[in-house]
């Protein structure tokens, strides 16, 4: 299963001359946003009494942003996470949080590799092919 879905391709298509760093911008925004949310979630789940409403809203945000960026596996993990939230299943939430974190790390690594490679290509004077994102 791919880490990213075609939404990311669409995202790439939105990048043009008027907005050359659009993807990078969005992705870094996503990173910052997600890290904040993940921290919040970790803290919220550490509380003795867990505010599931808050957790749910955090997860909802994370789900929204990850689906926008096309991080499919994070999104799927978030869906499961929200189900556990609804059930108020603390153990499930914890395991989901771990899963989301893992997926997040994976996406982050991949995207960082991608950008690094893109930069290398640009630096070498090449052009970035559009349909390369099928890992």
């Amino acid at each position: 299963m791919g880490v990213l879905d075609n939404q990311f391709l669409q995202l790439q298509q939105l990048q043009d001359e008027s907005n050359p760093d659009f993807v990078a911008e969005v992705v870094s925004l996503f990173f910052a946003d997600s890290e904040r949310l993940l921290n919040d979630l970790t803290r919220a789940l550490d509380q003795p009494t867990i505010d599931f409403k808050m957790v749910d809203s955090h997860v909802h945000q994370l789900k929204g942003s990850s689906s926008s960026i096309g991080a499919e596996r994070i999104k799927n993990a978030c869906v499961a996470f929200r189900n556990f939230c609804e059930e108020q299943n603390i153990e499930g939430c914890m395991s989901c949080l771990q899963q989301v974190k893992q997926e997040y790390c994976l996406v982050k690594n991949k995207l960082e590799t991608l950008f690094r490679m893109e930069q290398q290509i640009v630096a070498a004077g090449g052009s970035i092919p559009m349909m390369e994102l099928s890992f």
């Binding site: 879905d5 075609n6 939404q7 391709l9 669409q10 995202l11 298509q13 939105l14 990048q15 043009d16 907005n19 659009f22 911008e25 969005v26 925004l29 996503f30 946003d33 809203s57 909802h60 945000q61 789900k63 929204g64 942003s65 990850s66 689906s67 926008s68 960026i69 499919e72 869906v79």
Partner: protein, 967 residues
């Protein structure tokens, strides 16, 4: 156990149980506690079980005790009664004995008086032995208990000799006599005084001359008698001679009348003699008892108990003691002697059968009742268990149902996501330069993709159908366009199978108004009986498929459709095909959801098997009927009717908009043109002609190219286009080449008007590459008006060329619509915000982003310059619904102010009515969300991430196209 009464029994049990419970409550006086205990126990099965076991054991114990008590009580009652009977019998005997004894005693006393009167009172004595004997003999009946009477006279020592001389015998000793009866005549030794017997009854005549004072018992008796002046008794002893037990009653005879308070010495002084009566107690008691009826039932013992420690038995045998005996005291008139009578039953007490049976009966009843309770409780427990089981199963079933819905939702969601990608890519592909064929491919691919999405929706629809939640929306439509679209959707499939109007069979759709069918129903039947179908193949008679329809069974005059035909259109649609048909055994369940003809059918044909069930439901909702007829190996014909509203004028606007997208309406640009169709097959040609005629073109059909040439050469008509069937074209290349050359000769303009009607592109392409003939334009079959029109336009240069005309290209149109629009995007998620903004900027919109609903309400406070607003629904602090409500309120107030003239219209670009279109952005597009969107004043919703077509659809509702801005 008989089963008929079982129910009533259980009822009875329940009632008994209730009664018992009530009773218990009253007894305990603490109903709350019982209730509490009961319902608490109901709560946990285990507690209840143990509770009931305890109750049961207590119950049994209680009744065991009760029955024991009853046994004890009844047997003691019986014993008591027995004892009473014994007592009364004993007392009776004692009293009789006493009475008779007293009677005898009185008589003896009377005799003593007689003797004192006639023996001592008279001188000489009036009584001698003879008289005495006779008298006593004759009065013996008066003394039933005495065996003999004797009189001894008091003789002092001084008087002895005189006395002996007078009597003629000597006073004899008694004890010697007793011990040695041989020495009978032994004279008594010299004593202080003597009491020799002078008179005696015959029975005891042997005691005459014996000294009573010499006998131990007698002496004592005599002494006591004269001292007390009353009758005294000896202890029982063996009588002389008879050797039976007896007592001797002794009365003293006094010389004179003594006062009752005379001292013993005075009495001794006055004593004259002693009268003794011998009582043979043993025989007497026996005689007495024989007089009584129930002598057998009891033993009677009579004792002398003067010496308490050693009672002397006077009568009766010593029988072993069974414990129950009665003692009656006997008073024989001698205060010194005490006697008693002891009675006991001869037989032992019988078993207390009544008590035993009663108590056992009670025990049995109690245990039966306990068993009934037990059974009832067990039954209740079982029923409750079953109930809980059922509840659990119900919960499971509900959970399974929920899981199914969730599964459907999830799966459809999961499939939709990649499908969005596919569709999006296809959208983009259509943006690029494509030739007609490619465009058709893309369109078909897109349509198939949409069909897949709609399949998912279908599955969801099925779920909705099952729950009855499906709502129908009335939308105006173009029947031809819809049929074209439907057919083109399945054109790929039908081409694979080679199903066209060829020798392989056909699929044919006919649409009629119901009225026409009703009118022409007889004609139809005649026609179809001739089996003259389009492909020449026999088909299932479609008339049979609607035979069961109520619409036709009603009389024409009363048909509701006729009366309301002004605003309602009742269509009948038949789809007939040739093929293997539906097996007869499967025909009955064809409308059952998820039922397919056989398990192998889904392998060979695919599908979920829910299409027809949904169709049936939908047709039903549209007040129509669906039916079919199928003949194996000939084909099936499905027919349905549906009632549609007549498209009113209000929907015309919408229609025209749709026409814009789908230029398949009959356009006037081909009006008056003429076409030649070259096709040897009349039926296929007929279909082609039908389609071309729809564009307003006059059509003539010729069977081959040469005929066609001659037709053209004749020049009688101007032929604008020639459509050649691929089959004809490929039949003979030389003829084709000749034909083209001839056409060139006839006029250079013709070439562009030559078209090839092809089934599949690949074959035509392969052909054209090999022959040297210039390639005619290819029109793909199945023919669709839109396709046909587009191809003809392109080839003939008619109408507006270019993107707008040709493509329902949402992205271009979107650019068209959105260019220069000022749009506000509200989303709390930065990433989403960015992506959405970029997506809209792509179409040339000027985008402003805010992250809070509150901020949005500030920006959208009229007057403002925004053309539209895209609003996320779920946001912290203020969500999309709330923000929209506030904005709508502000707009309402502002509009009121304008109306009242408080604010001049001119200041705000003559906008007289502020209503900024607000579109919800949401990831989950469900009906409920949509309804809530509308309720809170939103105008629509777009899914997130944006899908170009949906975006277009929504946006086009608000923005009028601005043609002058288009590129």
């Amino acid at each position: 156990m008989n089963y008929e009464s079982k129910d009533t029994k259980t009822d009875l049990r329940g009632e008994v149980f209730k009664m018992w419970l009530n009773c218990w409550e009253r007894i305990s006086g603490n109903s709350y506690y019982i209730h509490h205990l009961y319902y608490q126990s109901i709560g946990s099965k285990r507690v209840r079980e143990t509770w009931w076991r305890k109750v049961l054991i207590t119950w049994l114990l209680f009744w065991t005790l009760v029955s024991l008590w009853i046994f004890w009580y009844m047997s003691s009652q019986a014993t008591e009664k027995r004892r009473e009977a014994l007592g009364s019998m004993c007392d009776e005997r004692a009293r009789m004995l006493q009475d008779q004894f007293n009677v005898s005693m009185n008589h003896v006393q009377a005799m003593s008086i007689l003797i004192s009167t006639f023996h001592h009172g008279k001188n000489p004595s009036a009584i001698d032995q003879m008289t005495f004997t006779r008298y006593t003999e004759r009065t013996a009946f008066e003394r039933p208990l005495t065996s003999g009477v004797a009189y001894a006279v008091r003789v002092l020592r001084s008087e002895r000799e005189e006395f002996e001389k007078q009597q003629g015998w000597t006073i004899k000793r008694m004890d010697t006599f007793e011990h040695n009866p041989v020495h009978k005549d032994e004279p008594s030794p010299i004593e202080e005084e003597y009491a020799p017997v002078i008179f005696a009854q015959d029975t005891v005549s042997h005691v005459i001359s014996l000294d009573m004072l010499s006998g131990k018992e007698d002496r004592e008796n005599v002494l006591r008698a004269r001292a007390s002046g009353k009758g005294v008794l000896t202890a029982p002893f063996r009588l002389l001679k008879t050797n039976r037990l007896g007592v001797i009653l002794t009365f003293a005879v006094y010389k004179r009348e003594l006062p009752s308070n005379a001292t013993p010495n005075e009495r001794i002084e006055a004593t004259d003699g002693y009268l003794g009566g011998i009582f043979d107690i043993e025989s007497l008691v026996e005689k007495l008892l024989q007089q009584l009826a129930s002598k057998q039932t009891i033993f009677v013992n009579v004792y002398d108990i003067t010496n308490l420690s050693q009672p002397i038995s006077m009568y009766g045998s010593n029988v072993s003691d069974d414990g129950l005996w009665h003692v009656s005291t006997l008073n024989f008139g001698d205060p010194f002697r005490k006697h008693e009578m002891r009675c006991r039953f001869k037989q032992k007490a019988p078993w207390p059968l009544l008590a035993i049976s009663t108590s056992i009966g009670i025990l049995v009843i109690a245990s039966l009742v306990g068993h009934i309770f037990q059974a009832t409780v067990n039954r209740i427990a079982k029923v409750e268990e079953d109930y809980h089981g059922m509840m659990e199963l119900k919960k499971k079933a509900e959970a399974a149902d929920v899981a199914k819905s969730q599964f459907l939702a999830t799966v459809s969601h999961e499939i939709r996501t990649p499908m969005n990608g596919v569709l999006g890519m296809l959208d983009m592909l259509m943006d690029t330069e494509l030739d007609v064929t490619q465009q058709d491919y893309v369109r078909t691919a897109q349509a198939s993709g949409k069909a897949l999405v709609s399949l998912i929706n279908e599955v969801l629809d099925q779920a909705k159908v099952e729950s009855g939640k499906l709502e129908l929306e009335a939308v105006s439509f173009n029947l031809r366009a819809i049929l074209d679209d439907v057919l083109s959707l399945f054109s790929g499939k039908s081409q694979d199978k080679g199903v066209e109007f060829t020798e392989k069979g056909h699929i044919f759709v006919t649409v009629y108004l119901v009225e026409e069918v009703v009118d022409s129903i007889e004609v139809e039947t005649e026609l179809s009986s001739s089996k003259n179908t389009l492909s020449g193949y026999p088909v299932a008679d479609r008339c049979h498929s609607w035979k069961g329809f109520k619409t036709f069974n009603q009389d024409g005059s009363t048909s509701p459709f006729k009366s309301s035909s002004a605003d309602l259109i009742n269509l009948i649609v038949s789809v007939e095909d040739t093929g293997q048909g539906i097996p007869l055994e499967a025909q009955s369940r064809i409308f059952t959801p998820f039922m397919q003809v056989g398990p192998s059918i889904s392998r060979t044909h695919g599908g979920t098997g829910i299409g027809l069930s949904i169709s049936k439901y939908l047709v039903g909702r549209m007040k129509g009927e669906i039916g079919f007829v199928s003949i194996p190996n000939i084909g099936s014909t499905f027919t349905f009717t549906a009632v549609f509203g007549n498209g009113s004028s209000t929907s015309n606007e919408h229609n025209s908009q749709q026409m814009n997208n789908q230029p398949n309406s009959v356009s006037s640009e081909f009006q008056g043109m003429k076409a030649l169709v070259v096709d040897p097959r009349p039926i296929r040609a007929k279909v082609s002609r039908y389609h071309i005629q729809r564009l307003g073109i006059q059509v003539e059909v010729v069977s081959d190219l040469l005929q066609c040439l001659s037709q053209i050469a004749s020049g009688s008509k101007i032929i604008n286009m020639i459509l050649v069937e691929q089959e004809v074209w490929e039949k003979d290349t030389s003829v084709s080449t000749l034909f083209v050359n001839n056409l060139r000769k006839l006029g250079c303009g013709f070439q562009s008007k030559l078209f090839l009607l092809a089934n599949s592109i690949s074959s035509s392409r392969a052909n054209t590459s090999t022959d040297g003939v210039s390639i005619p334009s290819v029109i793909m079959k199945p023919l669709r008006s839109s396709m046909l029109a587009a191809s003809l336009q392109r080839a003939m240069g008619v109408g507006n060329k270019g993107n707008i005309r040709n493509g329902e290209l949402p992205s271009m149109s979107l650019r068209h619509l959105l260019l220069g629009r000022k749009i506000l995007i509200v989303d709390d998620n930065n990433v989403n915000l960015k992506v959405a903004a970029a997506g809209l900027k792509r179409y040339g919109a000027a985008v402003v982003c805010v992250e809070r609903g509150k901020k949005a309400t500030e920006l959208l406070t009229p007057p403002h310059q925004f053309d539209a607003c895209f609003m996320d629904i779920q946001m912290p602090e203020m969500d999309g619904f709330e923000a929209t409500k506030i904005i709508r309120e502000m707009e309402h107030n502002f509009n009121n102010r304008i109306r009242r003239g408080e604010v001049s219209i001119e200041a705000y670009e003559n906008v007289s009515n502020f209503h900024v279109p607000i579109l919800a952005m949401t990831a989950d597009v469900i009906q409920a969300t949509y309804e809530e969107c509308l309720r809170s004043g939103m105008d629509g919703y777009v899914s997130k991430p944006f899908e170009a077509e949906q975006l277009y659809r929504e946006v086009s509702r608000f923005f009028p196209p601005i043609p002058d801005r288009s590129p």
